[in-house]
Amino acid sequence: MLSIKNLHAAVAGNEILKGIDLEVKAGQVHAIMGPNGSGKSTLAAVLAGREEFEVTRGTVSFAGKDLLGLAPEERAREGLFLAFQYPVEIPGVNSSYFLRTALNEIRQHRGLEKVSAMEFLKIIREKLQLVEMDEKFLKRSVNEGFSGGEKKRNEILQMATLEPRLAVLDETDSGLDIDALKIVANGVNKLRSKDNAFIVVTHYQRLLNYIIPDFVHVLYQGKIVKSGDKELALHLEDYGYDWIKEENSRSERW
């Protein structure tokens, strides 16, 4: 589904990603871990098409298409979803209207009929239950005045509604208490299927107790320096990132 080859990316001339290789197949969940500043969020942003990041080398193909050649909205319509680390507030824009507009853009791209306001209400009610959110939320402006936990749940709600092929969760666990974390993880688990895939970007192992990954990759200084299964995450939990840093500085010395 997603194939990243030798991806290099820079912001304002500073190279942050220094050759990423990653294969993600349908049905898989990949966790990307790493210390602060290792390039995790940059990878998420580059996949989504954020403009300030310049891809200097490498290729990314997504569902058979050259992902890097697509505008951000085209990537979204192709089924790439980014759950933001810091969801943005859009004052005055009704949540329900926003999400229906997004859904209809994506449906239209897939050759499906647009949904009416009534049909949308039926869909969204079901999805709201998934993330344990109240219907009153639909009347509020997008993320405006939401608590941190509400914003993250809202991201999962949007993901559930838009049904992406590939969802990238960028530190969705940061700032969540354990109850909210469970709700978010639960939402993700219910959406997992053989047809979609997830990339879970996280600093902590905690989330991976609830979303069990098939693969865990450690990103350090812009490269994936270690890959393994969920045991790798547990190891990181116990020993921190220092051994990764040491291993790499050794390799540099050699």
């Binding site: 951000p72 979204a76 507009t101």
Partner: protein
């Protein structure tokens, strides 16, 4: 649009067809302005002598006045002797078919969802307006007149209801009020007249939404609305579609009079030609609008969405004379490319316990310059007067400007005046967030801007609100990315 509205539009169109077009033979007066020209205009409209004298007085006032220079706008001097002040409509002037119309304009019509036939009319294609629903329109006219409501063209009012026109004309905006009001008073072409009798609630939105024939009255429009005790009327002015117009200078005057416990709601959508991307051409829209809350508990509410014109100079205000009277001003002004807007309101509190609310949303994109200019005045006897003002500016890009000029004058110590102002920039973060959900940048900007204007759009009648939302999006096209 409801069926009622549709019919009403046709009714209004028809009003103009019979009230104006058929009255005047097709011809044009020479350029320039002097007493002879004014006499000629008045004669062509077969006006009574008092009307002519009123125009002449206004002209003499105007001759002694100077064009105002205090507004935060820049334009080349206007040669008032180089303008044709009276031109009867000539249908043959226009393009022969839509094929001859600028494709950019057609594209905009399509985006606004305007039906083909209306597109022809708006673009000035020489078609005969088909009005086969005369009988339906007549029914509407009957319905209004059964209630004693008068809704007609200004010219017709001068002829049919001279006592009302004489009594109220110039009572809110005196002919010498300002340079442009004086000019309008001297040369006004036509406009609308509304009279709602005591205790009557006008059952429909009255509209000058005359998409058809509107181009003939645009230049020096004059509107007068009178609401008697306990009555209610909602009036819609303008059109979301850009209309073909050869006249660069527009100087309209609108006067509203609300008696005891009467309510007048006046909504405008203004989308005159803004000029091209380099700032060439475009309408100068210099308008004087004022409402008088004459009686106790009277209420006047202005709502405007200003997206068009190269220059907008407009301050719809309320004179709160009656005790407990209420004034409201809700405004969206958008300037893109090289457009300039200096707009706001005046709230003059004279009576006791009067209150006013001002909500102004300015949006600047491109090289646009947007100024809010508002005056809140609480006079000596206006005990317990209250005002709340909120002025928000949204900037798109870094070459535009937003300015706020509030003037507050309080002469009664019991007065309460609140003023809030914010300026924000449309965020790339916001656009990217919407992009990431599959929404294009154009639609994203439109969504963010509509969210920003929400409180004002909510004041518009439903049909208008939907069109105004689309209009904001279309007007900002190309302003980002």
């Amino acid at each position: 649009m409801t069926e009622e509205m549709e019919t009403l539009h046709e009714f209004t169109n028809q009003e103009y067809k019979y009230g104006f077009v058929t009255d005047i033979e097709s011809d044009t007066l020479p350029k320039g302005l002097n007493e002879d020209i004014i006499r000629a205009i008045s004669a062509k409209k077969a006006e009574p002598d008092w009307m002519l004298q009123w125009r002449l007085t206004a002209f003499r006032n105007w001759s002694k006045m100077e064009e105002p220079t205090w507004a935060n706008v820049k334009f080349n001097p206007i040669d008032y002797q180089d303008i044709v002040y009276y031109a009867a409509p000539k249908k043959s002037d226009g393009p022969k078919s839509l094929d001859e119309v600028d494709p950019a304009i057609l594209e905009m019509y399509n985006k606004l969802g305007i039906p083909l036939h209306e597109q022809e009319v708006l673009a000035g294609v020489a078609v005969d307006a088909v009005l086969d629903s005369v009988s339906v329109a007549t029914t509407f006219k009957e319905k209004l007149s059964d209630l004693g409501i008068i809704f007609c063209s200004f010219s017709e009012a001068v002829r049919e209801h001279p006592e009302l026109v004489k009594k109220y004309l110039g009572s809110v905006v005196p002919p010498g009020d300002n340079f442009f009001a004086a000019l309008n008073s001297a040369v006004f072409s036509d406009g609308s007249f509304v009279y709602v009798p005591k205790g009557v609630r006008c059952p429909m939105e009255l509209s000058t939404y005359f998409r058809i024939n509107a181009q003939f009255t645009g230049q020096f429009e004059r509107t007068l609305i009178i609401a008697e005790e306990g009555s209610y009327v909602s009036y819609l002015e303008g059109c979301t579609a850009p209309m073909r117009d050869e006249n660069q200078l527009h100087a309209a005057v609108v006067e509203l009079v609300a008696h005891d416990n009467a309510t007048i709601k006046y909504s405008t959508v203004q989308n005159w030609y803004p000029g091209d991307k380099e700032g060439k051409g475009g309408i100068y829209n210099f308008v004087t609008k004022r409402g008088l809350c004459k009686g106790v508990g009277a209420k006047i509410s202005w709502t405007q969405v200003e997206t068009g014109s190269a220059i907008t100079w407009k301050y719809p205000g309320c004179v709160l004379q009656g005790d407990h009277s209420v004034g409201e001003f809700y405004s969206v002004a958008l300037t893109n490319n090289y457009q300039q807007a200096d707009t706001g309101t005046k709230m003059i509190h004279i009576g006791k316990n009067t209150s006013s609310t001002i909500v102004s949303k300015g949006i600047s994109a491109g090289f646009g310059q947007n100024s809010y200019r508002g005056q809140v005045k609480i006079l000596k006897n206006a005990t317990n007067a209250r005002n709340f003002s909120q002025c928000d500016s949204l900037l798109i890009g870094d070459k535009c400007g937003a300015h706020t000029f509030p003037y507050i004058e309080v002469k009664n110590s019991t007065g309460q005046v609140e003023h809030e102002a914010t300026t924000s920039k449309i965020g790339e973060d916001q656009i990217f967030y919407l992009n990431q959900r599959g929404i294009s940048t154009e639609d994203a900007v439109s969504m963010i801007v509509n969210g920003f204007c929400k409180e004002v759009l909510a004041e518009l009648p439903m049909e208008f609100a939907v069109e105004a939302q689309k209009l904001l999006g279309v007007s900002l096209e190309g302003s980002v990315g």
